[in-house]
Symmetry: C2
Subunit: 307 residues, 2 copies
């Protein structure tokens, strides 16, 4: 099947494309008539063998590629608007899987409110090369003039809170959370609405709780995170190490001053630590266990390296 | 070098980030304060071994990945606004090349007026897997309320015009046009300004002149393109077949009624054919040679297929 036919057959199912898509997929660019000139943008990729198993259901791979971008939108307390995708297929991927993948992308983008408005498709020259799905997402402020909640903004004394639970996201016995999670968009917006300026900063946990907690303080050498290890909700019997380091949780992690509700939009919210002063040479993220043992949790999690 | 450090060291050179970038790279999403709520978006990828040689200069690979997206902007007669990039590096790519690649992306995006405001970096698990660079570009109408010129819009009797010359773009002896071309942004906008509604439709030539000409008529079974083979300007001694099929020319191809200037912004503009009626079962694109020989040029060019 030719690229053009494949993409067209997918776009045809975009019957519900909203009116703001003035030039739909199929031209050099899509044209969107947005309500707000404030535009948020981010890109994220899913690589087979890295972020998903090479034999994973293509429809779930497509869903994950969209959902992890929607999770970034949630972390800004924003609203998803639209997506575009670049796919690089293994030479032997086949038309059936390609269609399932694109339909997974298209339908989940529609469900998450960010219709797929453009795509690029290429096929690897080398048979052993992996599937790569790169999604770019656009988003808008939660309401006209609403604040976009950044990673910076934590203050000493603020509480550190998380939605949901952590660890074993990649565990198949645990239901494959990393393939099926619901991005916390409504929760992010509701937190902003309820807490207003008391919501200091926010991030979503993809690399790992330890590493992502560090992202909330790394901009300011005077700030550290102190995690209450016992308070961290764990998924499906995860160990503390798994909860801190597995990543792919796609939960919201935020700092706030004053009272914070114990649930938002039906999702539990747990206080798992606080923002403290960082001392010279001190760790950015310290986990404190019940017996009082303290350890550096800054590097708990995943990061790509170049050799 | 860790992903975060690498991206940060690149973003640091973004000293000239314009004021409309309200939240710069490094957060979950970049936040842009655009002047116009009409937003154009497209994505395109460069794959080593497919679009560039595996041993190509990383800085030129980065430039090409941005420039081919800017060429899509030119084809809409729009103005580039911002870019984000997802990169997947071979395991043995090394820090030096990674930095050169990202600096090529960043600096060319800046030169083309669409600063790099976000990125995602991953490293292949498999050593033999190729470099993949996927760029998403945002753009704005040429002026407030300006039309975005679509691929559709050709009418019978309109002339078919092209900027520049065609063929042998990948030829190293020819200067490596595909790595060094200047996207026709100014030309696209000037054509819209000069021709107004007489500029019927436009596309940029990446897949090949024959195939991209077909994109101007494929939406309407009553339209065909008749190419005047002798009139097609050829690059560096290219044959007719090379001019029709090589692709990667990144020139503008447009249809217009009435007089059209022979150059725009110093770039030559050539009438290379016209829009005619397509007859039942007739080819979408017919090339007519000087002796009167006619042949189907619809499929002259490159397209990815899935098996």
């Amino acid at each position: 099947m030719r690229e053009f036919d494949l993409l067209r057959s997918v776009y045809r199912r975009n019957a519900l494309l909203p009116g703001f898509v003035r030039v739909p997929p199929g031209d050099d660019m899509a044209v969107l008539e947005l309500a707000d000139p404030t535009v948020l943008v981010a890109v994220d990729q899913v690589v087979a063998g890295r972020h998903v198993r090479p034999d994973e259901d293509p429809a779930l791979v497509g869903r994950k590629a969209v959902a992890r971008n929607v999770s970034d939108v949630a972390a800004m307390a924003a609203v998803p608007t639209a997506t575009v995708v670049a796919c690089l297929l293994p030479t032997d991927y086949g038309e059936r899987r390609a269609l399932d993948l694109f339909e997974g992308l298209r339908s989940s983008a529609q469900v998450f409110g960010c219709p797929l408005v453009g795509g690029d498709l290429a096929v690897h020259a080398d048979a052993s090369a992996p599937l790569v799905v790169s999604v770019t997402i656009l988003a808008a402020p939660a309401w006209p003039g609403a604040r976009c909640v950044e990673r910076t903004g934590a203050v000493v004394g603020a509480g550190l809170y998380a939605t949901g639970a952590f660890g074993r996201s990649l565990d198949r016995d645990g239901g494959g959370h990393h393939l099926r999670f619901e991005p916390r968009v409504r929760e992010g917006i509701e937190l902003l609405r309820m807490l207003g300026p008391r919501l200091c900063s926010m991030i979503d946990v993809s690399d790992g709780l330890g590493r992502d907690a560090a992202h909330l303080v790394e901009h300011d050498a005077a700030l550290a995170v102190e995690l209450d290890a016992a308070a961290i909700p764990r998924r499906h019997g995860a160990s503390l190490e798994e909860a801190l380091g597995d990543g792919e949780d796609y939960e919201l992690l935020f700092t706030a001053t004053g009272p914070v509700p114990s649930e938002v939009c039906g999702t539990p919210v747990t206080r798992i630590g606080s923002i403290t002063q960082r001392h010279d040479g001190g760790a950015m993220v310290v986990a404190v266990e019940e017996g009082g043992r303290r350890f550096d949790a800054t590097s708990a999690g995943w990061e790509h390296r170049t050799r």
